[in-house]
């Protein structure tokens, strides 16, 4: 790939070589443990997802008895505090001081974007959940692997389902006013409108807001509402949505229908249709193992974040097995990571495309009440979904990245 040559030339030119050579990459015996650095958020508003990431990672390593491909594994956890500068400092700590072999995380897109260049210079493989589109599209990083999906990858199938199966015509979207929300709804809009539907309005409440009612009051003249909130915002939104007495059906993204939120939802969530890369009712041995383990250790069923990190662990394991446990040749290791193809995972079968993004199954689920608990029941699965959906990759990449204003609303 032309890009990696450029980067190497850049390294020499810009003196990045100094950085690369100062890294502790001296003779490494194979008996040395594989070091996995986990960048996560354990303090601040993003902490609930961040802690689940840590739980998922630990759960996986326990299942493997902290041994992958015959090598012991050491896990080093760094708390980024949920801000870009903190993430940069933490990855430097993991890479330069602890000498990790790969990074799991970080959680948020803005954290990932802040460290992408550094990680590429340090040739550090990153396995992240962060959904920023351009990380595997217009500004790819050769050392990046994403087994979860881009922001819009979750929304393309949902839009397809809304238009073709639910026969919806006019929709209103509402999501957090930050890049993740923008990218999701832009992706939804493209597929939904290409299938003949129409987005009437896009609402963007701020990421941190106590009250959604001014936004909910603007919901009218549509067949249904699509929400794309993250963190604990889906809970707040659904509660207030119910309180205002609106009866339009609600569609949601992966984070809105997340299994980890189900215990906090009440009846307001019943009937919500969501699309996710992970679904709790998927019948694979590894998903059973994950759920049993999480319930035993933490008293919670896993959601996107913990399952995502469990899956990252499986990807790392498969790559290590292919390289015979070796991580010293980073080029070979990243090639092995991107060549991973798994079938028994908590999210079902998947592979990676040439940019390191997942091609896998996405699930449409309906939230239902079973006894005293809410569960997600899978009603349709879309296999082999790529980040480009059914569009031509060249055409897709030639378009501007999904954003708040692109594609524009049809007036």
């Amino acid at each position: 790939m032309a890009l990696s040559v450029d980067r190497r030339r850049f390294l020499v030119g810009a003196g990045g070589l100094t950085l690369a050579t100062t890294l502790p990459r001296a003779a490494r015996a194979q008996s040395r443990p594989v070091k996995i650095g986990l960048l996560t958020v354990k303090t601040g508003p993003l902490a609930s997802g961040g802690i689940q990431m840590e739980q998922g990672t630990i759960r996986f390593l326990k299942d493997r008895n902290y041994t992958l491909a015959g090598r012991k594994v050491e896990l080093i956890v760094g708390d980024t505090g949920g801000n870009p500068a903190g993430t940069k400092t933490k990855i430097q700590e993991l890479v330069e001081r602890d000498g990790v072999d790969m990074i799991f995380g970080p959680l948020a897109a803005f954290e990932l974007l802040a460290i992408s260049d550094y990680a590429a210079q340090a040739k550090m493989p990153i396995l992240s959940l962060a959904a920023a589109e351009d990380m595997t599209q217009r500004k790819p990083n050769a050392y990046f692997v994403r087994a979860s999906g881009t922001s819009a990858q979750y929304m393309h199938p949902l839009a397809d389902y809304a238009a073709k199966e639910m026969k919806l015509k006019r929709l209103i979207t509402i999501a957090d006013d930050f890049a993740f929300g923008h990218e999701q709804m832009a992706g939804f809009q493209r597929v939904f409108e290409d299938a003949g539907g129409r987005i009437v309005k896009k609402l963007w409440p701020p990421l941190v807001t106590p009250d959604y009612t001014p936004y909910i009051a603007q919901i009218s003249g549509a067949d249904a509402v699509v929400q794309g909130f993250a963190g604990s915002n889906p809970l707040k939104f659904m509660k207030q949505y119910q309180d205002t007495g609106l009866k339009l059906p609600v569609l949601g993204n992966g984070t809105a229908g997340d299994e980890a939120l189900l215990k906090s939802y009440g009846d307001e969530a019943v009937g919500m249709i969501s699309c996710s890369a992970y679904t709790g009712d998927l019948d694979t041995p590894s998903n059973k193992k994950l759920i049993d383990g999480m319930v035993k250790d933490y008293g919670n069923i896993p959601g996107l974040y913990s399952a995502g990190l469990y899956i990252n662990g499986q990807v790392a394991e498969a790559a290590l097995e292919k390289t015979g446990g070796k991580t010293d040749d980073r080029e070979a290791f990243i090639r092995a990571l991107r060549a991973v193809s798994l079938t028994d995972t908590p999210r079902g079968p998947f592979t990676f495309d040439r940019l390191g993004n997942v091609v896998g199954t996405f699930y449409i689920r309906r939230t239902e009440r079973k006894g005293d608990k809410l569960v997600n029941t899978t009603i349709k699965s879309y296999p082999k979904v790529s980040q480009f959906w059914t569009y031509d990759e060249k055409w897709f990449l030639a378009q501007p990245v999904y954003s708040r204003d692109y594609p524009p609303l049809k007036s």
């Binding site: 850049f10 003196g15 990045g16 950085l19 700590e93």
Partner: protein, 313 residues
């Protein structure tokens, strides 16, 4: 008497990359230095002028954003520095003209509002600032043939700027202008009656403070090679103010000690203590209870007391 420890501290700082194990800690030291420059800048207002600003992250951030935009537009690094600092100074002048209409609480609230405006622009004017995805730059400059790409090179360059900032502060405090600024803090009416232009003195102090905040912002940009709205958020302003207050307002060394405390707690201690926020908060409470004037004046006081107690015994 005081020369010797100062010289020792200087030698320790200048040779730090040589004896510090691993580049990670050298990078932490660089962070401490540019945060210390920022805190020194905030201290000009909060300490010497008695004007507490909660909007300085706006100036810190504007320098970084202006620098990032200039680099993306393809300018050389010296031009970038001029553009970034000029932008910061102009913004600081506007901030000062608006905020200096009040003092005390009024000043605090206006600076909060101004800082939030900068944050809002950074967050929402996506076509310019790229929203919360931020702007990434590539490369650091090569001033005088010294490559700043390595942690050591960057540290030394930051150290030089830091020493310049510290020296300028020392000169400033000792100067008649510094004395008149402290006069406007303690007795604004008398200063006015004596014929001093109180507003103009505060205005110039604001520019001076803004300038060093901008320099720190530019260093932050080159260090992280990345700028995002979190850098200009209210919490960043509050953090700088905490550095100043915990170290000791209106002292030269206080903001530096405060910067060491906050940066070390945030980055190093957080690797060992899960609830590092809590510990940092507890430390601040302890400082406020036992050394309400800050660590540096507090320590001096304790040392003096200990000496006299020993002398008596």
């Amino acid at each position: 008497m005081t020369r010797f420890p100062l010289a020792l501290a200087f030698v320790a700082l200048a040779t730090l990359p040589l004896w510090m194990p691993g580049t990670y800690y050298v990078n932490i030291a660089s962070q401490i230095l540019f945060y210390a420059i920022f805190a020194l800048g905030v201290n000009v207002l909060a300490g010497y002028a008695g004007l507490v600003s909660l909007g300085h992250a706006g100036l810190f951030g504007i320098a970084a954003y202006a620098g990032a935009k200039a680099i993306t537009a393809g300018y050389g690094h010296s031009v970038v520095a001029v553009i970034a600092l000029a932008t910061t100074l102009v913004t600081a002048a506007v901030f000062a003209a608006l905020a200096l209409r009040g003092t005390g609480l009024g000043f605090v609230m206006i600076t909060v509002a101004l800082g939030q405006i900068v944050w809002g622009v950074a967050y929402r004017w996506i076509s310019i600032t790229n929203g919360d995805n931020g702007i990434t730059i590539t490369g650091r400059p090569f001033p005088f043939g010294l490559s700043l790409a390595s942690p050591r090179g960057f540290y030394w360059a930051t150290l030089v700027v830091f020493l310049l900032a510290l020296a300028s502060m020392a000169v400033f405090v000792a100067s008649p202008f510094g004395a008149s600024l402290q006069g406007t803090r303690d007795q604004p009416r008398r200063m006015n009656a004596l014929g001093y232009h109180v507003w103009m003195i505060r205005f110039l102090a604001f520019l001076f403070s803004g300038f060093w905040s901008g320099v720190a912002g530019l260093l932050y940009l080159y260090y992280n090679q990345f700028v995002s709205p979190q850098m200009v958020a209210l919490t960043a302003s509050a953090e700088a103010l905490l550095m100043v207050i915990s170290g000791g307002t209106a002292t030269l060394l206080g903001p530096i000690v405060g910067a060491v405390l906050v940066v070390v707690m945030k980055n190093v201690a957080s690797a060992y203590i899960e609830r590092w926020n809590f510990v940092l908060g507890a430390i601040f409470v302890v400082i406020v209870v036992f050394m309400p004037d800050g660590l540096v004046p507090g320590t001096v006081r304790v040392a003096r007391w200990a000496r006299s107690a020993l002398g008596r015994a």
